[in-house]
């Protein structure tokens, strides 16, 4: 089976009003080339589920998000995501604000086909007060109350990986696969962009095979985009682009705002984008972060 597609073909399969999960974490290994393709499209009214970084900020800025399911949105070294803040402070964004672990439970529930997973996380906080759709229930086994974290079913998941073959076997070489396996499993369709397209033989090495975190049947489409996580990181290949994130955050303080950022960088295609940010070589030589 050959699951290769273009970014445009992925976006053509997405529909207005869908619930889209986005892999990665903050400024790390985000499927940014796919996000950029959404920015170039007329897709709208999305519900987005994400451990958010510039993916969420850009989609907010472009008016693509109707409802955001989040625990945080941050670029880490720039703690406050500028366009996410603008969207929240503008009052237009519908939100489901939850704990980081609750998001994991919601994705697991969706992946496992159960309506909810009980947890004590959220009790005593504004998470349950501000989310009337998240129910607090009695347990059949004890006298406590529990948060019934609802399944976060995704119509589609977008994920960036280091290596994939055309059948959708995906390898994450970095130190952490984050919660990407749960995004892949929680989604009806999972579209993966990869830095390198590899032959199936690549996975023969058991050390590599152990870094494959979901089976290929959970991958719907594979898009080959070297540098596709930029400006987020794809460690060990490249770090996040500090200068670019600063320019991005700076654009939020200008009159033109995100339109100015798009005019300067987005382009009509990923090739144009990469040219605008200094080329693929520059992306691939970005220093790895030290924590």
């Amino acid at each position: 089976m050959d699951k290769q597609m273009s970014a445009a073909e992925v976006v053509a399969q997405l529909e207005d009003g869908m619930t889209i999960g986005i892999g990665g974490w903050g400024p790390r290994r985000k499927p940014m080339a796919l996000i950029r393709q959404i920015l170039r499209s007329d897709l709208k009214d999305l519900t987005v589920v994400s451990y958010g970084g510039a993916d969420v900020g850009m989609l907010c800025a472009a008016g693509k998000i109707k409802k955001l399911v989040f625990a945080f949105v941050s670029l880490d070294f720039i703690p406050l995501e500028p366009y996410f803040r603008q969207a929240r402070q503008g009052g237009a964004l519908e939100v489901m604000e939850i704990d980081e672990g609750m998001m994991l439970l919601g994705l697991r529930a969706a992946a496992w086909g159960v309506p909810y997973i009980p947890t004590e996380v959220g009790l005593g906080t504004d998470i349950i007060k501000q989310n009337p759709e998240i129910k607090v229930i009695d347990s059949p086994y004890d006298d406590k109350e529990w948060v019934a974290m609802p399944a976060l079913k995704l119509d589609a998941a977008l994920i960036h990986v280091d290596h994939a073959d055309k059948r959708g076997v995906c390898h994450i070489a970095g130190p952490d696969h984050y919660l990407d396996d749960w995004y892949a499993r929680a989604a009806s369709k999972t579209y993966v962009s990869c830095d390198e397209l590899v032959d199936t033989d690549f996975f023969k090495d058991p050390a590599i095979a152990r870094q494959v975190h979901w089976e290929r049947s959970a991958t719907t489409g594979v898009v080959h985009v070297p540098g596709g996580a930029h400006p987020s990181s794809c460690v060990p290949q490249y770090g996040f682009d500090v200068a670019h994130f600063k320019a991005y955050a700076g654009s939020a303080k200008t009159e033109e705002g995100f339109a100015g950022y798009c005019k300067a960088y987005l382009g009509e295609s990923e090739a144009e984008y990469q040219e605008n940010v200094g080329g693929l070589d520059a992306i691939q030589s970005l220093a790895l972060p030290t924590y």
């Binding site: 974490w25 941050s74 406050l80 604000e97 704990d99 994991l104 109350e145």
Partner: protein, 267 residues
């Protein structure tokens, strides 16, 4: 080496004071978010509680804490296991962790806010990070706080604008839980050390940093602080502790954590 030093910064005093939060916690994951909490956890792991566990702030567990910032060429960190973000939650929910964090607001119940300030929930005046992992941390394991600027905008009158973490608020106590289930350790600020060990879980003064008065603490707190009859002075760092802090923070990031980097003894 165990004699108190005379020349130390307020940041170094806070690191040493904050390290005490981890001292009696046993074999738990110590998570310090931010420079001073991380150095506090590292100091404790190297001195007062060598059973502590720590991550590299990314995805590996370390047998020795990493120094902050760029490392020397050839540096190899002391991995002992893998601890990716999804596995962190397994640890959090097991309760075997003590985190030290810096929320934007803390109220009289020990509830904290990392999410939003002012306005309405639908349209906050200032949007911050979001609830992050605070709800889960606060109900699963002990947590301490670090506050670099002790004032009544942080220690607010009334409840936090958004309650990210559970505290000692009887009105929000979940069914079947007791207030004793909530474990808030130390609150270390640029003025003093506090805990919630006062009457009925009231915030109480544990020690005053040299040169700070109890009145100053009360004036800068938006609610009544319990002040015991006798309040200690926060212990000065020892030469050994200072040496470890320098080793863990070779680029002096600690100098930029408290406004104007004051000296430790302001008397």
């Amino acid at each position: 080496m165990t004699n108190p030093a005379t020349d130390y910064s307020l940041a170094e005093l806070c690191i040493v004071a904050a390290s005490k939060a981890f001292e009696n916690e046993g074999e738990v994951l110590a998570t310090g978010i931010g420079v001073i909490p991380r150095l506090a956890a590292s100091l404790s792991m190297k001195t007062s509680n060598t059973d502590l566990m720590m991550t590299d702030s990314e995805s590996f567990m370390l047998s020795e804490p990493n120094p902050l910032g760029e490392r020397e060429d050839g540096f190899v960190q002391s991995n002992e296991s893998w601890m990716g973000f999804s596995r962190i939650f397994d640890n959090v929910w097991s309760g075997n962790r003590h985190a030290m964090l810096g929320p934007t607001q803390i109220d009289r119940f020990g509830q904290s806010n990392t999410s939003a300030l002012g306005g309405s929930y639908q349209q906050p005046k200032v949007m911050m990070l979001g609830a992050r992992g605070f709800p889960g941390n606060s109900i699963s394991h002990p947590n301490s706080f670090f506050v670099p600027g002790h004032n009544s905008r942080v220690f607010v009158d009334g409840e936090c604008d958004f309650v990210s973490s559970i505290g000692y608020n009887p009105e929000r106590l979940p069914k079947g839980h007791s207030l004793d289930d909530v474990k808030i350790g130390l609150i270390v600020t640029d003025l003093c050390v506090l805990d919630f060990g006062g009457p009925d879980y009231q915030l109480q003064l544990v020690s005053l940093h040299p040169g700070v008065s109890a009145e100053q603490v009360q004036q800068n707190t938006g609610f009544t602080v319990h002040i015991p009859d006798s309040v200690a002075v926060t212990a000065a760092p020892t030469a050994q502790q200072l040496a470890i802090i320098v080793e863990m923070d070779p680029h002096n990031q600690r100098d930029f954590q408290i406004k104007d980097n004051p000296v430790g003894d302001r008397s």
